[in-house]
């Protein structure tokens, strides 16, 4: 039998791997979610979002991901994820509990395409938002765009925190992280030519600013809505 204290830790650690798909930050870090062990093998996750109107598709992904991540923890037998204070809380919580897809849960309000395209769209944004400051750092260090365009992943030595984060987002998109692969690639894996690098980075910067502005706004809205959020440890 698992010790309750360690199960609690394992469950919280599992929840910490779940991210807000738009902000690309951990639900635990953002203060959005907390898990508690209510009984032997029984876990309840509570999810609070910055507004009553947070987009239901994102909420669904978070509830579903939280459910799946916690359910995989050894010793967990049942998981209940409660989405609180949200206009679609009922449809989302019960939909995930019953193992339904978003399209099934929202039936005529969805077009049958599921949430995979949405998730990928935001993985792309996260990748681009990490890539831009990394490449700018390389340029600031004195490399020309042509030199950056010729770099391989192995040339990123030492990789640094920003480099490792970039590679992680790149791996998640299904792109090669082989040391011999070109370092600066588009979200579809195509290398970025020297003359395209600066315009590419300018667009990437707008993406980064957008993601960062949304993150700061959403996390402060959560604080406004709930005061200091108690994440049960």
């Amino acid at each position: 039998m698992t010790e309750p204290a360690s199960l609690q830790e394992a469950v919280t650690a599992a929840l910490d791997t779940v991210t807000d798909p738009e902000l690309d930050r951990s639900l635990v870090e953002l203060g959005f979610a907390g898990a508690s062990v209510d009984g032997p093998g029984r876990v309840t996750v509570e999810l609070r979002l910055p507004t009553y109107w947070c987009a239901p598709n994102f909420a669904y992904l978070m509830v579903q991901d939280a459910h799946d991540a916690v359910a995989r923890v050894p010793g967990v037998e049942s998981v209940s994820v409660r989405l609180l204070d949200h206009f679609a809380a009922e449809e989302i919580s019960s939909g995930v509990a019953a193992g339904r897809s978003f399209d099934d849960a929202f039936d005529e309000l969805a077009d049958g395409g599921g949430l995979d395209a949405l998730r990928r769209l935001f993985h792309v944004k996260a990748f681009v938002a990490r890539q831009e400051p990394l490449v700018r750092r390389l340029l600031r260090a004195g490399r020309t765009p042509a030199e950056v365009a010729r770099m391989r992943i192995a040339d990123l030595e030492p990789a640094g925190v920003d480099g490792l984060e970039y590679l992680e987002k790149r791996r998640r998109l299904g792109l090669s992280i082989d040391p011999t692969a070109p370092l600066a690639v588009r979200p579809n894996g195509q290398p970025i030519a020297a003359e395209e690098l600066i315009p590419y980075l300018d667009r990437a910067r707008a993406t980064r600013v957008s993601v960062e502005a949304n993150t700061t706004f959403c996390s402060s809205m959560l604080a406004t809505r709930y005061g200091k959020v108690e994440v049960k440890e």
Binding site: N57, S210, R225
Partner: protein
């Protein structure tokens, strides 16, 4: 009260204001939870981004008076002209949240102070177009506010590119209603896609450019700022409405600088319009902080943009004055 900078008057147009009634008496019995959820969300925005001394008690926030409106905008708020952007939400509020009729009472009483805008909903079809014609005949709109995420029965939203929407846009072009304010929201069909996507703005901006329509994207497309920036560079008839962006100037000045500098870089100072989104926020402190604001040096250098006094004048009023053919007193036209 006029805003003076070094003795010169600054012309201020608040391009997005409301006179709403979200008091419990106006909540529909079958939609109380949504009616309350809507105004509570606004109130959180208000509390989150306002300076503490500007935070109202909730009951006042739910329903404020004509005196509040006139004082906050014109006596204290430095606003010369304010533009009403109606938001109906009749599925939740018995008399609507902020309707043309509510706004018209003020606009008719203070014709020099307010611009009254219309609205339409693509799902209203032919009946909606008939109504738009009638309302336009009565009030002579120069603009409309479109809220594509509005709920209507089972529907949770619509797109600008819908066939019915295009019929309304055709009618706007015919009637000379040229300023199309677009507000994206969190629920739009299909619900599984990104409901804040502004791609439909791109399509109609191209299609209606020659017809003279201008698309003012409220909140500069937030939370999809980057898509808006890209559209803005492609389409000369796309503008950024700074409602919701403005109050970041107090609570998150670094992000305000980052976001505004992106707007200046991609869209430019000629196509951005100031707005408080009153009563979400109040113009007085926004105008004061904006006039005192300077872009941080590192942002200026990295992006090669600046916010000059000339740019501030355009954003605060002169750009909107052009869009709405507003008379700017000679003393306020001069660049500083």
């Amino acid at each position: 009260m006029a805003y003076k900078h070094n003795g010169e008057d600054i012309f201020v147009v608040d391009s997005h204001v409301h006179f709403w009634d979200a008091s419990p008496a106006n909540w529909r019995a079958d939609a109380r939870v949504y009616a309350e959820g809507w105004i509570s969300c606004f109130y959180d925005y208000h509390k989150n981004l306002s300076p503490p001394e500007w935070v109202w008690p909730l009951p006042k926030y739910q329903k404020y008076t004509e005196q509040d409106l006139m004082k906050d905008l014109f006596e204290d708020g430095y606003v010369d002209v304010a533009i009403f952007l109606p938001t109906y939400l009749k599925d939740w509020y018995t008399n609507g949240f902020n309707t043309i009729d509510q706004d018209a009472v003020m606009a008719e009483k203070y014709p020099d102070r307010f611009v009254l805008n219309g609205r339409w909903d693509a799902r209203d079809g032919e009946a909606g177009r008939k109504r738009l014609r009638e309302e336009h005949k009565r009030w002579g709109f120069k603009g409309v506010k479109l809220y594509t995420a509005e709920w209507k029965g089972a529907s949770k939203g619509w797109k600008l590119t819908d066939d019915e929407s295009r019929r309304f846009l055709d009618l706007c072009a015919e009637l000379g209603i040229v300023n199309i304010h677009v507000h994206k929201g969190p629920t739009i069909w299909p619900l599984n896609r990104d409901s804040f996507d502004v791609a439909d703005v791109d399509d109609v901006a191209t299609a209606y450019r020659d017809a003279g329509l201008r698309f003012i994207v409220e909140h500069c497309g937030l939370p999809r700022l980057e898509d808006f920036c890209w559209i803005g560079t492609q389409e000369p008839n796309v503008y950024g409405g700074l409602a919701v962006v403005m109050p970041f100037i107090h609570a998150r000045p670094r992000y305000f600088a980052e976001v505004l500098s992106e707007m200046l870089w991609w869209i430019g100072e000629d196509r951005l319009t100031f707005a408080s989104d009153y009563a979400l926020w109040s113009p007085k402190w926004l105008v004061e902080k904006f006039m005192a604001f300077e872009l941080p040096q590192d942002i200026k250098e990295q992006k090669g943009v600046d916010l000059t006094l000339e740019g501030k004048r355009k954003i605060l009023g002169l750009n909107a004055a052009k869009l709405y053919d507003l008379q700017v007193p000679a003393a306020k036209v001069a660049a500083g």
